[in-house]
């Protein structure tokens, strides 16, 4: 009998194919021990169906060709085995790959490995060991950090009832963070900073509104986030969070999200192949109670008690104590943007950029307004060589802050060319002079497109040092793009 130490379900195989290092480290360790990884045939087929990149598929199939991996066929144990798998599939919300993997883990007395433990945990015995590959869960183990425990204070909404007649508030401005070094003195909670689109969700029975920062309702752009309404089961809530899409490495990637941002009415196939997630980090209102005056730690506790943890809608953990610096290291290793620090005792201050929230990015990012572009030189296949960008100053004058010539993919260029062609105007929109080498051969455009760029630092004359293109921000208004205070 082959010594199968673990069973990988489809989500774990996809995590491997997407470059999740922990998934590969575990396989390497099992091989070093001379043991094997069991892969239910249905899990492999499900994973292959979910993968869209040929390179990913090739890497997964090469892995399956090693002797470490053992494919566990479905049905060669006869009808009894099929009925067993069917029973576990029923428990796992009719997910055949999970049902098959659960049956295999129990039969082989093996650990269950997954990037999405929710379904498996329903079907497995309560104390059966599940090795969770999802990145935010791994951090606590790898860095020896304790996830912040639930507060001992009873949350205010505990006794509220969904029939509470109070009107649900609308149009709450999101609280904003100040940029700065990671604070460590005092009482802070630390969260990962997610690279996505901020949104506040208003859930009122059957109604879900998802307002981006420019007050656009994006609920129809991300129909899978209706899962939040379902999960709240009739409760009335206002929640703050970030809409993200996972990139190849299994962590949020703005580039991956852009494909969805550009599709206001996605087809079911787009939703299935390019899914988004909603990471919740604050609870502002619940069943008739305004929670914004409560301290962060109490709001967070109330949020966690809602149990909104799943594949599409999740409540990532936060950390306290002296965890901040290690979490920043972890963010670097995982390829995340940085860390948010929030004072444990601070209320939610709508619309305010508050020092009670500090954004400590690993790379500085800025929003800029596109005011012009230069055609590509020889050797560029597309037509844009660089973009000339600016920010509005205190006198509402668009001020030139630099040219962006790196980070533009061919796809970016193709889409930008069409947009920029529509916006062309005869003269420069910048109120300040653009350096002559930058202005030479420039085409000018109406300053309405907002983009996000990364950069090393500010120069003394208020230019961006080494800016690199990240993508357009259709959820932002150009008039709001200002020099940082």
């Amino acid at each position: 009998m082959t010594d199968i130490a673990v069973v990988y379900d489809a989500s774990a195989l996809v995590a491997y194919a997407h470059g999740q290092i922990a998934a590969a480290e575990l396989i390497s360790e099992i091989n070093a021990e001379g043991r094997h990884v069991g892969v239910p045939s249905t899990a492999l087929a499900t994973a292959l169906a979910a993968l869209t990149d040929e390179w990913d598929i090739t890497q997964l199939m090469r892995l399956m060709g090693t002797r470490t991996m053992v494919i566990l066929p479905l049905g060669d144990g006869g009808p009894d085995e099929l009925r067993q798998v069917g029973e576990f599939t029923r428990l796992a919300d009719c997910d055949l790959n999970v049902g098959h993997a659960v049956a295999a883990a129990l039969a082989h007395r093996a650990f269950y490995v997954t990037d999405n433990p929710k379904l498996a945990e329903i079907a497995l015995p309560p104390s059966w060991p599940v090795l969770d590959l999802s990145p935010v869960r791994l951090v606590s183990d790898r860095y020896g950090l304790d996830v912040a425990p639930a507060a001992v204070i009873e949350p205010a909404p505990a006794d509220r009832h969904p029939d509470d007649p109070a009107e649900i508030p609308v149009g709450i401005e999101p609280m904003l963070a100040t940029l700065g070094p990671l604070p460590t003195a005092g009482e802070w909670g630390y969260e990962f900073k997610w690279d996505g689109v901020r949104a506040i969700a208003y859930v009122d029975g059957d109604d879900l509104r998802l307002l981006a920062r420019n007050k656009t309702d994006v609920a129809h752009t991300y129909p899978e986030l209706d899962a939040l309404r379902t999960a709240l089961a009739g409760r009335r809530a206002v929640l703050d969070g970030e809409i993200v899409a996972l990139g190849r490495t299994g962590v949020p990637s703005f580039a991956a999200l852009q494909q969805r941002m550009r599709t206001p009415a996605p087809t079911p196939a787009t939703v299935r192949t390019k899914p988004v997630r909603f990471y919740l980090f604050d609870l502002l209102y619940l069943d008739g109670t305004d929670l914004t005056p409560l301290p962060y730690v109490e709001r967070r506790d109330a949020l966690q008690r809602l149990g909104l943890s799943g594949d599409t809608v999740d409540t990532p953990p936060y950390w306290t104590g002296d965890a901040g610096p290690a979490l920043l290291d972890a963010a670097g290793e995982l390829g995340l943007e940085g860390v948010m620090a929030k004072q444990l005792g601070s209320p939610y201050q709508p619309g305010r950029r508050s020092p009670a929230w500090v954004k400590a990015p690993l790379t500085a990012t800025a929003e800029v307004v596109v005011g012009g572009y230069k055609p590509g030189g020889r050797g560029r296949s597309a037509g844009i060589g660089s973009l000339l960008v600016g920010m509005f100053d205190a006198g509402d004058r668009l001020t030139y802050v630099g040219q962006v010539s790196t980070g533009l993919s061919g796809e970016d260029q193709g889409q930008l060319q069409d947009r920029l062609a529509e916006l062309r105007q005869p003269g420069s929109p910048f109120a300040t002079p653009v350096p002559r080498p930058h202005a030479r051969q420039a085409e000018w455009v109406r300053p309405v497109l907002v983009a996000e760029v990364t950069f090393r630092s500010w120069t003394p004359d208020r230019r961006l040092r080494q800016p690199s293109w990240k993508g357009l921000r259709p959820d932002r208004d150009a008039a709001d793009v200002r020099f940082p205070g």
């Binding site: 010594d3 590969a24 360790e29 099992i30 144990g77 007395r109 183990d141």
Partner: protein, 67 residues
């Protein structure tokens, strides 16, 4: 699987595949000893007997429903 998991090979067979490292490298992974050590510690924990008993009961029950 219905009988408790016999598949292939001798009982307790332990064989390493030297080709695996190259496959992981080609896929872009840089495996570190520290990364593997964490999993080694996890795998060293035996599955609790109560969980094994529950697992056997679940398998038997699922098969029983089939009978």
């Amino acid at each position: 699987m219905a009988d408790g998991g016999a598949r292939s090979g001798a009982a307790g067979e332990r064989v390493t595949d030297p080709a695996l490292d190259e496959v992981l490298r080609a896929a872009g992974f840089q495996i570190t000893e520290a990364g593997r050590r964490r999993w080694r510690a996890e795998l060293a924990h035996p599955i609790p007997q109560a969980a094994l008993d529950d697992g056997k009961r679940l398998l038997d029950r699922a098969r029983g429903r089939a009978a």
